[in-house]
Amino acid sequence: MSDLKTFPLGGVHPEEGKYTASKAIEVLPIPERVYIPLSQSLGAPSIPVVNKGDRVKTGQLIAKGEAFISANIHSSVTGVVEKIDEWIDASGYRKKAIIIKTEADEWEEGIMPSDKLNSNISLSKEEIIQRIKDKGIVGLGGATFPTHVKLSIPQGKKAEYLIINAVECEPYLTSDHRLMLEKGEEILIGIQILMKALDVQHTLIGIEANKPDAIEHLSKLATKYNGIKVQGLKLKYPQGAEKQLIKALVNREVPSGKLPIEVGCVVQNVGTAFAVYEAVQFNKPLIDRVVTLSGKNINGGNFIVRIGTPIQAMIDKCGGLPENTEKIINGGPMMGKALTSTEVPVTKGTSGILIFTSEMSHRMPMYNCVRCGKCVTVCPMGLEPILLEKIAENKNWEMAEKEHILDCIECGSCHYTCPAGRPLLDMIRLGKNKVNQLIRSRGK
């Protein structure tokens, strides 16, 4: 617990609100219908391989990721495909989804999920990566980058460190925290598998200091394994961002526009390590995940939820929506997105659902910029948010590109800290969109 590390530049300290940290993970009952969106991970949407009326078993492949950056999707329940239609998802728009009416839970042959620990890693490096690809594992931290792509190191590059992101710097969310306490052993085996796949000798697990029990628990377990070290981190948002975490743990800086492998690091979320353990040892595809449901007014919890379960089912489990609810957020309060409907299904990227009352859900009124420079001080990427806002307001996209607008990680620290309530992140997001369009049009 001594010598806590952190990243040097910027950062903020939002209120923690980890109310559900002491609640054990519960299994949410399987809902009547699941709505499995075809676009759950970063990259191209998956192509369905089942038709209306087909009977599918739990864990059966229902959509294939054809593109390089794309992931397979498996049925999270046993039942009949009712239709392949558009359904509202977390983006606020209706996207293609496979809707399955559930029957009794019956697993696809070859999948044997079990609570018994299996620490024998029999597969080879290539087999591990292939298995992870087949089973549709994606980064469970929220960005949902397909894991097999991250594990396929490009030619000429070498990974030195595997970094396990167990920071969970977003307020309220506790799903990773609970997972570490309850499935610590499994996570460490998952890390061993990842180390084998990457061919690395050193692993650093970064955990923030507000989870002392998790640090202690994993440190104790890690002594059994070679090359795995748990490192406590000072409390600071956005420490869970890839680049900030690398800076904090190994003091290396990822160059602008490059990936962590450039400095010899591969970052995986702690939840991903657990999913990898289940996929490689028990053949289990990514069909469920731990989701936190939290908020000041609701008796929340941490649940293992099948992918495609409407969030309404989780809310019902916690006693329904409190009357003074004003906002429901998918993800953490800093980077999450407000939802417009409770019919939105849980996807591979859903780490939490937050229920907010009116006191927490409004923006502050907007004033003119007072040139205090707070946004510049807190920006963990060393950008000047106020400058980027002005450039975006003037629609000067070429200049925005020159000022490294694409390096923004959209953590929202500038927006959070601004005493004038400027829509800094909104403007920067718009600018990023436009600059990306500009770059794409140039490529043609």
Binding site: E86, S91, M427, N433
Partner: protein, 286 residues
Amino acid sequence: MNEIVLYSLMALGGIALLFATIIFFVEKKFKVIEDPRIDQIQEILPGANCGGCGYAGCRNFAEAIVKAGNMDTLFCPVGGNEVLKKAASVLGIEVVEKAPQLAVVRCNGSFANAPQKARYEGAISCSFAHNLFSGESGCPFGCLGCGDCVAACTFDAIYMNPESGLPTVIDDKCTSCGACVKACPRGIIELRNKGPKGKRIFVSCINKEKGAVARKNCSVACIGCGKCVKTCPHEAITLVDNLAYIDYEKCKLCRKCVAECPTGAILEINFPPRKTEVTKSNEVEA
């Protein structure tokens, strides 16, 4: 004392003379020969510098006219046919007349027709809201009501109607420059022919969802039933992706489709009231 004044005058006078000579020769040598017709045409143009013609301003447009030598592809929406005729007379060429156009808002999802389901609190700009969610009514094609089109209009020709929450175009002020068309992130606004005495008929909806889904969010959505297509005697209506579109070049303003539309998605503007009231007995048939 007198000497100082004298020398100063001589020195300054000398310098002035020297520069005058240099300027004289430079002016002769590097003279920019410009077509005088550009100036003449610029005088005729409205001088709004709105960019509706596709050029940076009126002078730029005048240069383009003179350079092209014809007006086949050039049009000043603000000045219209009259101004272009005058400009063409300077060059001594013919103009192809173009029907006057108008910006038309193809969404009728007012507060009453498309009730609010969520409340948006972010930055007041349609381009942000469009990136964040499908809209307060839930319609992913409908007007977001933040007024990007109003901000884009340089002629004060659009305002947000506080009762309906939709932008309203003032016919007399709109010059069909197309700035609002570009500003709308959802492509709701279209330039359409103004029609005789301002009479026009259009489908006030661009929702491409299936009928039942579209109707859930908005009572006046086009449900793609195709009744209007069958009714139209002039073959002016096409149905693509659950959405009807009326071609203003072919439309003869007979108003048959307006009476036929089960949801009232087709609007008729500036028509006298009908003699016999259209009964609304043919409600939904999707």
